[in-house]
Symmetry: C2
Subunit: 560 residues, 2 copies
């Protein structure tokens, strides 16, 4: 144990596979796992995490690349299991460090990551793979397995090494009647299980949900009924990568003689990619450009929109605020065909209330079957464990509560408790001779993207922001004459976000001035910092007592 | 219509009852309704609303009392339907305006409000009432009706006036097997229905939940099973006013030979009141003081705690952070016997994850039947409408989505759509000759309590806080010599919450200085404000372009 609580891992022994998750363990997002053997590294996924309310102003959170920072030349490739942001979103930031790391993934996954990289003016090296395919990447033999998820063309990856075999599911569920017929391939899982899975890295997102995830196909009939009842415009919101959800909207539109316009930049972009590659089957004449929607009758229109999570700048939120060219009105039907990610509730309910006030009917997963999850629930996970019978299990992709629930399912299938690894980001796990062990812990902090800056904002900055946001600040500026020690200007007080009129400070200014002049007179060798501390003390005490607040206090003393 | 969108209501006609909700319509909280006839006012409830994440630093939100501000002498009393904060929390602030307004309520309700007022060093005038009781309060004849809710001794109030009759439910549900045998009195409702309910003000909180709320009594058996399985300490968290939930915890503790310690100031206070008045039946020797818990074996302990909504300073949150004298450990059982109020999800999940990391088992309403709601679901509301057959309906206590759902239930029971009033805070409704009409709209903003200040913080201050919290600020201080126009100190740049090291500003300082000196030289009659605008422009453009951020910019130019 080092002082910081980190445990330096031992040197990697021969014929041992090292696994280091740099994200996704203890959080839903920034999934990234590093595999190492024979001096080479293989990365699976490289995603972003979205900030919570105690990380104000942060745009994105990246995995901490510092563990591999000086080993980038040893990276043989990044396997991307599917095209969601929490699995591909950090790729541009990794490629800034070395731009020729090969990206390995399915056709759709690579198309989505290439579109993202194009926005960063980057062009990656890629290797397109498909289910059943074998690729030797340095000392790693990768075999890809079809899995079903809320985006098409997702893959699990089976990794054979001299240290043992690992199956990493990526995100998956086990829809037995998927829209594209591409199920999670349990025959393939069975073959791998018979060969022997030494370590199973398995999606935990829904491990605490009992039973089975409903089939995506059950949403189509609900949409058809809702479309049949709608008398005016229909607006459907979902994730912009949910090709099968959009497919069912297109199908229902055709059935009811409506045309569909895509709304929102990512929806337009992703559906163009999905249609071009054949993942989205676009019936003839069903699409219409948003700018031409006005030429149609209201009952001929479907708007397929982003913003289902209440994102304030997305189209749906602006419609709910009456701040979008589409003026939602009485009789319009809005369908939130989407999940409700914890933390987004208030934002989403604000949108629902706004749309209802405008007279729209609003349907969401609380009132109709318009959403199913993309992740395997407890019952499905148990099938997996029973088919694979892995020697060791490491739940991934989840908060502590999900990881623990998943570990319990593994145990209920017969995996010994000692072979279930509950880890955290930065854990170092060594696999050899069929046994996986936690052998150390490396530094693995949050890396914040904030405007143009990557990794420059610190937790201290965020603490400042939380104080500023909750309490505001008071800045007190005083100019002192260097030779006479007299105040020549100020104290000038500027306050923002503090609950009072500026005139409230009039009573404290003379006391600050007096305390400052006293300090200047008392000692000739005072520092500016000492004078500022005098100001801080006087006003801090007063503010706490008088206003019962604790704003940030910025005392500035200038000598002129 | 006035310019602000307010519609001045007409003078109140004779034999007309005016109803003005000052809170609770369009939000869950700060419930308050004003009734007026013959120059007298009756108030029902006076609660607080808890702030959301876009109201940073706010402690509480009050109803806007300005509508009754100059009519306080006409107030005949405040009927308090039950003792929850969203119905009584603003009473101290109302009594600051006139301290002898009589408070009317049940025994428990008044005891809770008196305890609250004692903390504000206030002693109210009170009138204790019970179900069936009639009280003439000026021109208002009030008849009280037993209703069941998640706190004992709740009352609905039936108000007879020359303008018509109104039944206000307060908060309620229709548990048919309540723990104390005190059901919502449907026989009483039936009698009032036969007499005639001109206007029905009805709790909408669960109107969008289909079916029926499960009985509170079903939680007892679950607790008994959980207590039976627990090998070490048991920690139960719930609202501190939920006497029946606590009663069932006490019962389960007795059954399993455990002792219960109350944890959290409001839990200790409320349970003392409830026990003293006989609402909580405390078996002999079941209670133990928190400070004596250490003398018991772990399997003899139940801690009954506050903090079920993730409140960061409450006992449960501190236990999850390992920051409480009760050190939660492996094998302890934590039961969140509570709702999950939208907006609190992340805070509550953080606690669950923290407790799981410490080795505790965590049970919550997602995993076991340890919570039922306190509000009538759609099926129960339909019973009410059918028994009461009101002439007019005004859904109260809810966001737009709840009010609309409740209105639809009313219509499905046969109330004509034109007699269902969907209103908002500040709406003015006149009731005469069996017809209720919206006749105006009065000013009814949020009144923020923030530290010592009430109503001083504005929405503009909150906007400042949101900017400060998301983006931080940059303050630029420059001292200019009044006579020479030369800069004698600065530009001095102070930034907080901005994602960069202060040295990043070095490159912009000379440009600010140059722009300032140019401005001073160019015109001799410049104002300080103009100079500050020069600074703001230079640094604002640079920050947006260079950092891609929009922090608050505070330019200060002092002339010395």
């Amino acid at each position: 144990m080092t002082e910081s609580g980190l445990r330096t891992p031992p040197a990697l022994a021969p014929d041992t596979l090292r696994i280091v998750p740099l994200g996704g363990i203890g959080e839903i997002g920034r999934n990234m796992t590093v595999f190492e053997i024979d001096g080479k590294l293989l990365i699976v996924d490289c995603g972003v995490l979205f900030p919570e309310e105690d990380q104000p102003g942060v745009d994105l959170i990246l995995p901490d690349f510092s563990y591999i920072g000086d080993r980038l030349e040893d990276v043989v490739g990044v396997v991307l299991t599917h095209g969601h942001e929490d699995h591909i979103g950090a790729v541009p930031y990794l490629l800034r460090l070395r731009n020729d790391i090969p990206l390995i993934g399915s056709q759709l996954t690579l198309a989505l990551v290439e579109a993202k990289l194009a926005e960063h003016r980057m062009q990656p090296w890629t290797l397109t793979v498909t289910e059943g395919q074998l690729e030797q990447l340095g000392p790693f033999q990768c075999e890809f397995v079809a899995v079903n998820h809320s985006i098409p063309d997702a893959l699990a990856v089976f990794i054979r090494t001299a240290g043992g075999t690992v199956l990493h599911t990526g995100d998956f569920k086990m829809d037995q009647l998927p829209l594209d017929g591409r199920r999670t391939d349990l025959r393939h899982f069975a073959r791998l299980g018979e060969e022997g899975v030494d370590l199973f890295l398995v999606d935990s997102t829904n491990a605490d949900v009992p039973g089975f995830t409903t089939s995506e196909a059950e949403i189509g009939p609900t949409l058809e009924v809702l479309f049949g009842k709608a008398g005016k415009r229909i607006i459907v919101a979902s994730f912009s990568s949910h090709v099968h959800r959009v497919q069912q909207v297109l199908n229902a539109a055709v059935l009811h003689g409506r045309k569909v316009a895509f709304v929102g930049r990512s929806m337009v972009r992703n559906m163009a990619i999905a249609a071009k590659l054949g993942y989205l089957n676009v019936p003839a004449n069903v699409l219409v450009d948003l700018k031409d929607v006005g030429k149609l009758r209201d009952d001929q229109v479907v708007l397929m929109s982003t913003g289902s999570q209440g994102e304030p700048m997305a189209a749906l939120s602006r419609m709910a605020n009456g701040d979008h060219k589409i003026a939602v009105g009485i009789g319009d039907t809005v369908i939130l065909a989407s999940s409700l990610i914890p933390g987004n509730e208030n934002a989403v309910y604000r949108i629902i209330n706004g749309l209802l006030k405008l007279g729209a009917d609003v349907i969401h997963k609380g009132t109709a079957k318009v959403h199913v999850s993309g992740h395997a629930a407890a019952g499905e996970l148990l099938y997996c464990y029973n088919i694979l019978q892995p020697k060791n299990v490491m739940p991934v992709h989840g908060e502590t509560r999900h990881l623990i629930a998943n570990g319990r399912i593994a145990q209920s299938s017969g995996v010994p408790a000692s072979n279930v690894l509950l880890t955290s980001d930065g854990a170092v796990i060594d696999l050899a001779e069929g046994r996986a062990r936690i052998v150390g812990q490396v530094e693995c902090g949050f890396v914040y993207v904030d405007g143009q800056s990557v990794g420059e904002i610190t937790d201290e900055d965020l603490k400042d922001r939380r104080i500023l946001g909750d309490e505001g600040f008071i800045s007190i500026i005083t100019v002192v004459n260097r030779s006479t020690g007299k105040i020549v200007s100020g104290p000038d007080i500027h306050a923002r976000g503090v609950a009072e009129d500026d005139s409230v400070f009039d009573e404290i200014k003379p006391r600050i001035a007096a305390a400052l002049e006293e300090a200047v007179t008392a000692s000739t060798d005072h520092t500016t910092h000492q004078l500022q501390q005098v100001v801080r003390r006087v006003i801090g005490t007063w503010v706490n007592r008088r206003l019962r607040r604790r704003p940030m206090i910025i005392p500035v003393v200038l000598e002129a």
